[in-house]
């Protein structure tokens, strides 16, 4: 059996890679992709904790169901995020978030 901390370590690494992408990449699409990585790192954690938790007599479903909801939110986030990126590009000819700063005081 693979110990639980190994799953958590991989998830931690994936999450950190995602954080690096969000902080360092310039292109908004790349930032969105890094956010997807972070969401999936969280999903690994949720499913791993769900699988390794002692259930006793009745079956636990919280981790399983929660992961399904995270997937739904990820899909919604990608759809709306990409729509915003395309609109910003259409108006400003740029996909770099720093350049879309009209509202900055």
């Amino acid at each position: 059996m693979v110990p639980l901390w190994m799953y958590l370590a991989v998830a931690a690494a994936l999450f950190s890679i995602g954080v690096f992408g969000v902080l360092a990449r310039r292109n908004a699409v790349a930032i969105l992709m890094s956010v997807e990585l972070m969401l999936n790192a969280v999903n690994i954690n949720l499913v791993a904790f769900w699988r390794y938790s002692e259930t006793g007599t009745d079956l636990l479903l919280n981790g399983y169901a929660f992961t399904a909801f995270v997937l739904i939110v990820a899909a919604a986030e990608a759809a709306v995020g990409l729509a915003i990126i395309i609109t910003v590009y259409r108006n400003r000819r740029s996909v770099i978030p720093e350049e879309a700063a009209t509202l900055k005081g």
């Binding site: 639980l4 799953y7 169901a65 899909a75 770099i96």
Partner: protein, 170 residues
């Protein structure tokens, strides 16, 4: 960790997941970045199978490779992201240090039991099946409210995305 099908699978899927992740944040070409993202998420789907959640694995592949990958590729093409951006990074060094520090802290957190938690010695033999999940999602004592909210969220996201991305001149 003894050598068996699950541990070999774990190593293989780890390579997929982390290698794909590195590809996403380092590649210059965003089309290839999308493919790397899919490699990474395919590895995550493999984890779900190892953790006996086959339904999530199938949904992961269906949602990400079947839908989000296509969506991202269309966005990359429509914004001409492949050719136009010359510099990949801003503030690369602070970001790198920050994410490395985060990783080390998280690693310490999951390996050293400072929070009093113990790593379980064995995994439960019986786990919930897809049928259990399906029942729980529509059970009033289960997840029926989040389930309905999620469907409302998806509808709202769909309408919102269409409304935002719509070109008024076309």
């Amino acid at each position: 960790m003894e050598l068996n099908a699950i541990s070999i699978g774990f190593v293989v899927f780890s390579i997929f997941t982390l290698g794909g992740g590195f590809g996403v944040v380092t590649t210059r070409n965003l089309f290839q970045g999308t493919i790397w993202l899919m490699v990474s998420l395919f590895g995550v789907a493999g984890y779900f199978i190892l953790l006996s959640a086959p339904f999530l694995a199938a949904v992961q592949i269906l949602v990400y490779i079947g839908a989000i990958a296509i969506l991202i590729i269309f966005a990359v093409m429509l914004t001409r992201s492949v050719a136009r951006i010359k510099e990949r990074y801003i503030r690369i060094l602070p970001s790198f240090i920050a994410s490395l520090a985060l990783f080390l802290i998280l690693l310490l957190g999951v390996t050293i039991p400072i929070f009093g938690a113990h790593s379980p010695e064995s995994i439960p033999e019986y786990v919930a099946s897809t049928r259990n999940l399906g029942t729980a999602l529509v059970d009033e004592n289960g997840f029926v409210v989040p389930f309905l909210l999620a469907s409302v969220l998806l509808t709202a996201a769909m309408i919102g995305a269409i409304f935002i991305a719509r070109d008024e001149n076309a």
